[in-house]
C-alpha cells in the first residue's frame, strides 16, 4: 500500500509536469467565438453582439446573419465578454435566464460556441429584466437547481438498478438501455403516431414495464433456474446492453432528436433561479414516484416481500414468498421507472441512442456513493452526483463534468467503499 501511494504521488507529479510542458498548437484556422441565435427553431437575423476583452477593451461588434449565426475571430486566447443587445432582438422575445452577457474562454486554436437561448417573452408583469451580470451565487443557485433535476433522473435509474441488484444480485449493465428504450418508445408514439407526449409517455412506461417483465420471465429467470452465477449474468448483461443499444440505433438512427411537445417554454423566475415549467413538473413527478416506491417498499405486502427476498432469498422462499413472482414484479417496476427516467432525460436534454449508456456510469457513481444495494442510499448518492456534476461546471469545463463525477466514484471506493449508507458486509 505504501509503495502504491508513492507511485500514485509520482504519477500526479508526472501529470503536472506534462501539463506544464508548452504545447505546440497547430496553425489556427479558427480562434474565437461564434454562435447561432434561434427563437423557437427560427434563425434570428440582425441581433447586435459586441465582444470585449475581460478588461472591457472593445474587440468587435457584429450582427447575426440570415441563418442566425455570428462569428468573431480574436488574436489572443483568454477570457472575453460577449454582450447581446436585447433591443436588437425581435420585440416579443428575451434571453432565457435574464442575463444577456456571457464570459466564455477562448482556447488557442479553437472556436468556442456562445449560447444565448432565446425564448418568447413571459407574460407582462413578470419579474423585471435583470440587467447586470449574474453573480457567482446566482449561477451556483441555478446550477444547483439543474443538478437536482439531473440528480432525480439519476435517482430514478439508480432506484431500478438497486431494486434489481438487491433481489437478484445482478449488476445490470443493460439498465442504461432500459432507460433509452423507454425514451425511444415514447418518441415512437409521440412523433411516429402523433400522440401528445403525456399519453405517449404513459404508454411507453406501461410497455417498458411489460418488456421488463418479459425479459425476466423469458431470459434472466431462465438463467437463474439454470444456476448461472451472478458474475456470469453480469457479463451477459453487457452483451445484452450491446445488443439492445445497437437495435435501438438500428430503428432510431444515430441522430439527436427531441419530442414534439414542450420544447420551448418561457422560464419562470423563482428567486435567483429561472426554470421552465416542464422542469418543475418533471421534478414533482420524479419526487412523487420516488416517494410512492419508497412507501410501497416499506408498507405494502409485496414491498415487504421484496425486502425479504433481497435479504435472504432462500429464507423468503421457505416462509411462503413466491420469490420468482416478486423478482418479476421488481423487474417490471424497475424497467417502468427506468422508462420514466429516460423520458425525463429526453425532455430535459435530447434523445440519442447512447443516452442511457452515458447516464449509466453516473447511475453507478450514485449507487456506489450511496451504497450498492440500498434503495435509500441510491437516492442520496444520485442527488449528490447530480448536483456535483452541475455545480462543478462553475470551475470545470462542461465537457469534463462527468469526469469529475466518475473520479469521485473512484475516490469514494478508496476511502469508504461501502458508500454513505451501505453496510460493510456487502462489499468484501
Amino acid at each position: 500500500m505504501r509503495r502504491a501511494v508513492i507511485a500514485f504521488t509520482a504519477f500526479l507529479g508526472g501529470l503536472i509536469f506534462l501539463l506544464a510542458v508548452p504545447a505546440h498548437a497547430d496553425p489556427a484556422d479558427c480562434q474565437g467565438l461564434r454562435g447561432t441565435l434561434k427563437l423557437q427553431g427560427q434563425p434570428v437575423n440582425g441581433a447586435k453582439i459586441s465582444v470585449t476583452t475581460e478588461g472591457g477593451q472593445p474587440v468587435e461588434e457584429v450582427t447575426s446573419n440570415a441563418q442566425g449565426t455570428w462569428d468573431v475571430q480574436v488574436d489572443e486566447p483568454g477570457k472575453y465578454k460577449v454582450t447581446l443587445d436585447p433591443s436588437s432582438l425581435p420585440a416579443d422575445s428575451e434571453v432565457r435566464g435574464g442575463s444577456n452577457v456571457r464570459t466564455p474562454t477562448v482556447y488557442e486554436g479553437n472556436c468556442s460556441t456562445v449560447l444565448f437561448a432565446l425564448q418568447p417573452k413571459a407574460a407582462p408583469g413578470a419579474a423585471p429584466e435583470d440587467t447586470g451580470q449574474s453573480t457567482f451565487w446566482e449561477q451556483a443557485a441555478q446550477l444547483t437547481f439543474e443538478g437536482v433535476n439531473l440528480g432525480l433522473i439519476i435517482a430514478l435509474g439508480a432506484l431500478g438498478l438497486s431494486l434489481i441488484y438487491g433481489t437478484t444480485g445482478l449488476t445490470n449493465f443493460a439498465h442504461g438501455e432500459l432507460i433509452t428504450l423507454g425514451a425511444v418508445i415514447a418518441y415512437a408514439f409521440n412523433v411516429g403516431f402523433g400522440l401528445q407526449l403525456i399519453p405517449a409517455a404513459i404508454i411507453a412506461i406501461i410497455v417498458s414495464g411489460a418488456l421488463g417483465y418479459g425479459q425476466d420471465r423469458l431470459f434472466w429467470g431462465q438463467l437463474r433456474k439454470r444456476g448461472t452465477g451472478t458474475i456470469a449474468m453480469m457479463i451477459i448483461s453487457i452483451g445484452m446492453a450491446i445488443l439492445l443499444r445497437n437495435l435501438i440505433q438500428f430503428f432510431f438512427g444515430a441522430q439527436n432528436d427531441s419530442y414534439t411537445d414542450y420544447n420551448t417554454q418561457a422560464g419562470i423566475e423563482i428567486g435567483p433561479i429561472s426554470a421552465a415549467p416542464k422542469n418543475l413538473w418533471a421534478i414533482g413527478i420524479e419526487l412523487a414516484v420516488l416517494i410512492v416506491v419508497g412507501i410501497a417498499l416499506m408498507k405494502t405486502r409485496t414491498g415487504k416481500a421484496a425486502r425479504a427476498v433481497a435479504d435472504n432469498p432462500a429464507l423468503a422462499a421457505s416462509s411462503g414468498i413466491n420469490v420468482d413472482r416478486i423478482i418479476r414484479i421488481i423487474w417490471a417496476s424497475g424497467s417502468a421507472i427506468a422508462a420514466l427516467a429516460g423520458i425525463m432525460l429526453g425532455l430535459s436534454q435530447s434523445l440519442k441512442f447512447t443516452m442511457g449508456q452515458d447516464i449509466l456510469l453516473l447511475i453507478f457513481a450514485g449507487v456506489t456513493l450511496g451504497g450498492l444495494g440500498t434503495a435509500f442510499g441510491a437516492l442520496v448518492g444520485s442527488l449528490v452526483v447530480g448536483i456535483f456534476i452541475q455545480v462543478s461546471t462553475l470551475w470545470v469545463p462542461p465537457e469534463l463534468k462527468s469526469v469529475g463525477a466518475l473520479a469521485v466514484l473512484i475516490i469514494v471506493l478508496l476511502f469508504r467503499p461501502q458508500g454513505i449508507l451501505g453496510r460493510r458486509e456487502r462489499i468484501g
Partner: protein, 328 residues
Amino acid sequence: MDWLTIITTTVHAAIGWESVVYGLAAIGVNIHFGYTGLLNFGQAAFMAVAGYGLAVAVTVMNLPFWMGIVIGLAAAAILALLLGIPTLQLRADYLAIVTIAAAEIVRLVFRSVYFKDIFGGSDGRRGFTGDFYAMNPFPPGHYGIGPFGFDERVIWFLAVGWSVVLLSCLVVYLLMKSPWGRVLKAIREDEDAVRALGKNVFSYKMQSLMLGGIIGCLAGFFYGLYNGAVQPDIFGTEMTFFAYTIVILGGAARVFGPVVGAMIFWVLFVFVGNTLAELVRNGFIPFMTTTQVGPIRYALVGLGFILLLVIRPQGIFGDKREIAINAR
C-alpha cells in the same frame, strides 16, 4: 454481388491488423479474466493511454520513437496501479464498474477541447509512425498470392505484430506454468484459500492487472501504428467488449485461445458485415439501408456473445472447470 471483395477482405481480416490488435488486447484480458478472475472492463483505457503515450511523446514532446514506447508502457502500468489500489480488495463488480468508468474518463479527457493542445481533441493525433516504417526492411512491392496479399508497409507491420503476439503467448505460457501462474489460478478458484496459505492476494492481483494491462497496451501501439493515428472515440467500451467476446469465443485460460478467437471473430465480423452490406446494396433486403448494417452487425455480436455465454461458456478450446464466471 461482389464475392471476390468479400472473400479477400475476410481472408485479410483473419491474418490482418485487426487480429493482431484485438488478439493482443484479448491476451491481456485473458490474463485478467481467464487466469486471475479479474473483471477488467477498461481494457480500452490501457490501449488508449499507450497509443496516446506514444503519439503525444513523438508529436508534441518531440521525443524519439522508443521513448514514446517507454512512456506508453509506463502510462499503462500507472493506470493499472490507479485502478487496482481502490478496487482489488473489494468484490468483483466494483472492479468492473471502476474500470468501465475509468475507460470513459480517459476517453473524455483525450477528446476534450480543454486538453486539445496535448491530445488533439476529437481529431486525435497523427504523424508519429515515421520512425517505425523507416525501419522497414521489406523492399516496395506486393507480397502474397493472387488477390490475397499486402504491400510492403502492411507486411512489415504484420511481421512485427505477429512476432509480438507469439512472444506474448510464449510469456503467458511460461508464466502460467510457473508457481506464480499457479497462484493466479488459485486466486481465481478460491481467494480465501490462497490468503490462508499466506500469499498476498492483493499483490498478485495487482501484478496480474499490470501484466495484462501492459500486453493490452501493446495493442494500443499497434492500433496507432497501423492506422497512423489515434482518435479518442476508437477506444470506447465496444473495444473492451470485443476483447471479451474474443477471449470467451477462443476459450478463457488457454494460451492460444485469444489468438484463435480473434481470427475467428474477425472472419465472422467482416464476412457477415460485408455480405449484409452487399445484400442490401443489391436490394435483397429491402427493409434496411447500408447505414443500418453497422448497428446490425454490432447487435449480432451482442447476441452471439449472450448465446456463447449461455450455451458454451468455455468457448472453442476452453475447459469448463476453468471458467471463473460461475464461481462466487
